[in-house]
Amino acid sequence: MPEFSLTPDQESLRDLARKFARTEMAPHAAECDRTARFPEEIYRKAYDLGLMNLNVPTEFGGSGLGLFEQCLIVEELAYGCAGMTTSIIANCLALEPILLGGSPEQRRRFLTPFCASYQLASFALTEPSGGSDAGAIRTRARRDGDAYVLEGEKCFITNAPHASLYTVFATVDPERKHKGIAAFVVPRSAKGVSPGKDEEKMGHRASSTGTVRFEGVRVPAEDRLGEEGDGFSIAMRTLDQTRTPIGALATGIAQAALDLAAAYSLKRETFGKPISEHQAIQIKLANMAQAVHAARLLTWHAAWTIDHGGKGTLESSIAKCFASDAALDVADEAIQTFGGYGYMKEYPVEKLLRDAKLTQIYEGANEIQRTVIARELLRAYQ
């Protein structure tokens, strides 16, 4: 039988993240959103408390959590500020290829020094010519003796300007499409690595997103993860792991929107009574509550499936896709509940809508998620 109550251990992890989100993140969320400031002091505190390298085993200095516990934490953090959460969990995404594709020696060599202090890493897959079509990567890796030479540009890379380490996907032979892709670990300090400027974004403005150029970057062959053709599989298996926490992140945004809307509806009066007593608002709140609840349970189920050894491709795609769509809808309805005030930047709900939008796009656009869901689904009927 499924078990839906959290263990005391899980509750204590959730409480830690909740406290951090509400006391350290939320008070700075509006200011960072307005000014697009990257609040490194908050990220440093998140690292100090063990909220950063959640998926890295403790033997390498990470927190060593399962996906379910990661999701509990990510939802709470996103409740405080989705943008900050994106930057806090970007290390999980960037380091996952090393966990999945690295040899024991590589895991020790890269992860142990990285996790020993506050550092950021970036997952560098997307290119200006396309993100979802990962097989069409143009960044080249040319073999030169005992090294590779990287040439190309990556874009929309979270934390890129602040990262000290990149996991980079490049092709050794574009003709070989998916089978020509290789994954590399590249330090920021390598000659020829140049992060570009921060992008101006609609939401997630406390997070930093930018390009990274690789110009004649020499990467020792021993820093390649897996074999030459393993890169695409490493990238896809990475996203299978990190997609579910995006469902949790979206759930956190949706819960924040619901809480704000419900509290406001009890205070705001029209026609002589609180708007919570008007059926029109009650129906909105009921629909929002259903969406939040379903998003959370789908996310929990996907995380549970993967933690119990399942591949979870279908479950995590459903969770990410549903929760991100729910987050946008719930944020939208929260604004509607606030009426004109909801549209004003002085109130916190419009930020939630802008933040929710990205969850439909990044870590696999929802169109790709639906393609994956349909493929997995139809396989069962063939």
Partner: protein, 258 residues
């Protein structure tokens, strides 16, 4: 230095409170209990002293029912306490702070202690009596509302201050001593994730409750404050409009101004 710090589970500030069926107590059903804020300060003070005095041990002790008492002891261990002891008493037992002090004293007598720290009062019933009564029961000096507690190693004495009306007292005293702490020098620390996970496996030693006297005091009635009414929200577009509307209300409705 052997430091004992007393902690108490209290309802989380945001939890919704209900009156129990007997009308005399808080209904604990579904209430989330946490380490009391004042006790967090006491734990922080204990840890600061431990860091300042090499070879110190911090022993957290709590009195109360399962599971909430065990949970706050784990929270204290996650913050850095070395040991934890739980005196299990049933929920709905004596509410008399003097009883709590007697039971704690009976347990603490069996533990090495140079310093016994308490928060200045509990975060729920706010009695503020346990630290003083505990000092009396242990037969050692006791001070309440203490700030800036330090250990003067050269003179083997504790030094501390008490903020009093229009001034500050400065004291020194050798141990053992009981201190009810006003606040820590710093903001209480937050437990880190690895320490939280480790605390889940920590040994919580059970101590049998003893020393309670037949309490003559019993709670009679527990009431939640009545919700306030009559608040008026002023809607406005500009600060000027808000001020004008407020002045009109103060003049015409409340008649604060002529």
């Amino acid at each position: 230095m052997e430091i004992v710090v007393c902690v108490k589970p209290v309802p989380e500030a945001e939890t919704r409170l209900r009156v129990a069926a007997d009308g005399a107590r808080l209904d604990a059903e579904g209430v989330k209990f946490v380490l009391a804020g004042y006790d967090e300060s006491a734990v922080e003070q204990a840890l600061l002293l431990k860091e300042a005095v090499a070879g110190s041990t911090v022993h957290a002790i709590a009195l109360g029912p399962a599971p909430r008492t065990e949970e706050v002891l784990r929270a204290a261990v996650a913050l850095g306490c070395d040991k934890a002891s739980w005196i299990e008493v049933p929920s709905g037992g004596s509410d008399d702070p003097l009883d709590a002090a007697r039971i704690l004293a009976a347990a603490i007598r069996g533990l090495p202690h140079d310093l016994v720290l308490c928060g200045k009062q509990a975060g729920d019933d706010e009695s503020g009596l346990v630290a003083g009564a505990l000092a009396e029961a242990l037969g050692v000096p006791g001070f309440g509302y203490v700030v800036d507690l330090r250990w003067d190693a050269a003179r083997s004495r504790f030094t501390f201050h008490r903020a009093v009306e229009s001034g500050q007292e400065s004291w020194e005293c050798p141990g053992p001593i009981v201190i009810g702490l006003q606040q820590a020098w710093n903001d209480p620390r937050t437990a880190k994730l690895p320490a939280i996970l480790k605390s889940r496996k920590a040994t919580i030693t059970k101590i049998a409750a003893s020393g309670a006297a037949a309490s003559v005091a019993t709670p009679e009635k527990f009431e939640l404050p009545a919700p306030r009414t009559g608040a008026k929200m002023i809607e406005y577009r500009t600060p000027q409009e808000a001020a004008e509307k407020l002045v009109r209300i103060l003049r015409e409705d409340a008649k604060v101004f002529p």
